[in-house]
Symmetry: C2
């Protein structure tokens, strides 16, 4: 695994290059996606069915074949192995508990003039959840997207999941049942995003689309943004592990590999001021790789984007962490909590030696949909707040409005907005 040290002369440049990751926007892909969206708007169900038959080789004959009934969802849940079912249920309960704590309420206050001001919080009416199909079809992602929507009070949660050759992961359906998804369609790609954004004869138009997908899905989400809300454009997964003091190198190495096994472009970085520990982790990574089912993916990820970084001290590490703004951050040291106060940017912070990132992916409670590629600088984990929105409330009293109206009158005149000024003036003159 690549080794870097902040003491090297060109460290800053090398480290910046390591972090750089840009999804090239492909004009051909954008054209294809725009065309798909236009055609779905024009031809509705028929076009979605046609593309699903074509791209997913789905054996459906009519559009109704693409909907999965609640009975089918329940059957998938009932058929689960006992241990898997218990695990999924525990995950759902914990995710729900954490997200309940996130729920926001409205508030009002009365100002000194007697005017009432406030903020009303309401759930979105209807949302669409995109769940990738095939290999990357994860039941945990269903819970992580649907539970926050459910907690927010969304009345209708529509899930789309492509079913290549008509095949579906039953665990994904079971998770949909458990999470309270209202309708499920086995469609995917840009056509699914377009159908959710604009509605078809069968698929109701939603207000927001969340969930990750391939580059067609990402491009389609960007294109329909504004027509509907979207969560974020997800990049490859990342982990940054910082360790200090007594640590088990085998554990740390496996934590690093747990991101690397996701994707050849995933990024796993290990930082420590302890050169011995760095050596031990490097060695443990190689040992683990020798018998990891996804060793090929992990090896490529680590070769291309991974690094072991030796720092002078914790202060230097904090600087690097804030520069990276990692999706997942593990702080494996005694006073992890104290260190966390100095972290300005991270999707999720896993503190102490008994908090592997993997438990956050499934059942710790917080969401596993997190800002990637440094976007933790300005964005947040997926949460209940993504399925709620706010309206401002203003109610002036007959007396209380007077000084406000006078102020508005003066400022509106400065902006040459005469109707504004006169509308205000009526209330105080």
């Amino acid at each position: 695994m690549r080794r870097l040290s902040t003491q090297e002369q060109n460290f800053k440049q090398v480290f910046a290059d390591l972090l750089a990751f840009e999804t090239v926007s492909d004009p051909e892909l954008l054209k294809t996606v725009d065309q798909i969206i236009a055609d779905v708007r024009l031809y509705g169900d028929a076009h979605v069915l046609k593309l699903t038959q074509q791209f997913d080789r789905h054996p459906a004959h009519q559009f109704s074949d693409l909907e999965v009934s609640q009975q089918q969802l329940k059957a998938a849940f009932d058929d689960l192995d006992k241990d898997v079912r218990a695990a999924l249920e525990m995950a759902a309960v914990r995710i729900r508990a954490f997200h309940e704590a996130q729920k926001q309420d409205g508030w009002t206050y009365v100002d000194a003039l007697g005017n009432t001001l406030g903020q009303k919080v309401t759930p979105l009416d209807r949302v669409g959840i995109y769940v990738p199909g095939g290999l990357a079809s994860y039941p945990s992602s269903v819970l992580m997207n649907a539970v926050p929507a459910h907690v927010a009070g969304v009345q209708e949660i529509i899930m789309v999941v492509p079913a290549p050759n008509g095949e579906l992961n039953p665990l994904v359906l079971a998770a949909a049942y458990l999470a309270g998804v209202h309708r499920v369609f086995t469609i995917g790609g840009a056509q699914a995003v377009a159908a959710l954004a604009y509605g078809t004869e069968t698929i109701p138009q939603v207000d927001k689309i969340t969930g990750p997908g391939n580059r067609f899905v990402a491009a389609a989400k960007r294109a329909v943004f504004g027509q509907v809300g979207i969560d974020m454009i997800a990049g490859p997964s990342e982990i940054l592990v910082y360790a200090e003091g007594v640590n088990n190198a085998k554990w740390l190495a496996m934590d690093v590999l747990s991101q690397a096994e996701h994707d050849t472009v995933a990024q796993a970085i290990f930082i420590t001021p302890d050169e011995q520990l760095l050596n031990a982790v490097a060695e443990a990574v190689e040992i683990h790789l020798a018998n990891l089912p996804k060793a090929d993916i992990a090896r490529t990820s680590i070769k291309n984007r991974g690094a072991l970084v030796l720092v002078k001290d914790r202060t230097e590490a904090i600087e690097l962490i804030n520069q990276v703004a990692p999706e997942h951050l593990e702080l494996c040291l005694d006073d992890a909590e104290a260190m966390s106060h100095q972290i300005r940017h991270a999707g999720a912070i896993f503190m102490g030696r008994y908090t592997p990132e993997a438990i956050g992916d499934y059942c710790a409670g917080p969401n596993h949909v997190l800002p990637t590629s440094g976007t933790a600088r300005f964005s947040s984990p997926l949460g209940v707040y993504d399925f709620q929105k706010r309206s401002s409330l203003i109610m002036c009293s007959q007396d209380g409005v007077k000084s406000l109206a006078k102020t508005a009158d003066i400022l509106a005149q400065q902006e040459n907005l005469d109707a504004h000024a006169r509308s205000a003036r009526y209330r105080y003159l």
Copy 2:
């Protein structure tokens, strides 16, 4: 002014057509914007200067001529007319007070197993505020963008405002001073957005860009979304006024016109179950238009996109309002607050007869940057929360992690993520 009644047979279609507004995406414009962004990334300051000289006819000779010093901001503030200064100060104080109430704090809790879970809230490091230049250069917009960022704790607020022919509205500079803007550059268009998103030799790279602009600015914001955060893609302004019972038709008509005067594509809709009031408002609109400075704009707006809608009752009105999801909603009736509980979607709700929308534009306290074109279905007013972001916190105890790790182990195996499973297993076996 166009009249509609829900009793007409084709009302639904006519009303839907009235609301329809789609900004056509122009491939030529997108190409131009992409090129500008690429060139600003490549050539930095030099290219921004060149485009500013070219598009804004700015007389600057070197890039440093494009920065406005804090001394200049202060001078603009000190030179204000006494009444205008007092009005601007009152607005800033009230906007700050409302937004302080919006500020979010982090939280943690300990679960039954002894694990700590929580959410950390941190401000963005640095943000860019786009303020339109020329005619639509509004000091109120400076306050509405900069004050929430300041309240959130953003360390560096960079404002860009184009100065056609090098000319600036001194009130905009005064507002920047009052709101605590840290640096001001007189640049605009896609080049300003690109400079903020990627940074140049002089302009620091920001984490988020907020504020409205023309279609070049909107296209550039969409293009850099992901590289930085953006607030929203703003559409034309709208108002929906609902009135019932005793009302002053002149007031209502002026409230309607206060949106219509903004823009020929602004939308002003008046709804009532009272036909006499509808007639009176129609008449008052015409009378006002006869001596309104911006009558031409308002008349075009009303002709193209305005309507007076007669409904059967309040229930029907509520349905229409939730369909429109208006940016601004006035409820001019006795029990406005009770009615507001049934409104699911609106940017801001102005309640009662003494709460004209115009005071919300300047000094009521809530933000005047609001979701337009029905996007209140899924988005919120600009707020302190736009300048804060969250990180999840997870800290397991040595005992508390055991059952979580076991659950993660089981689910990770189902997802064929072996390194995840093994990383979890280390913590409980």
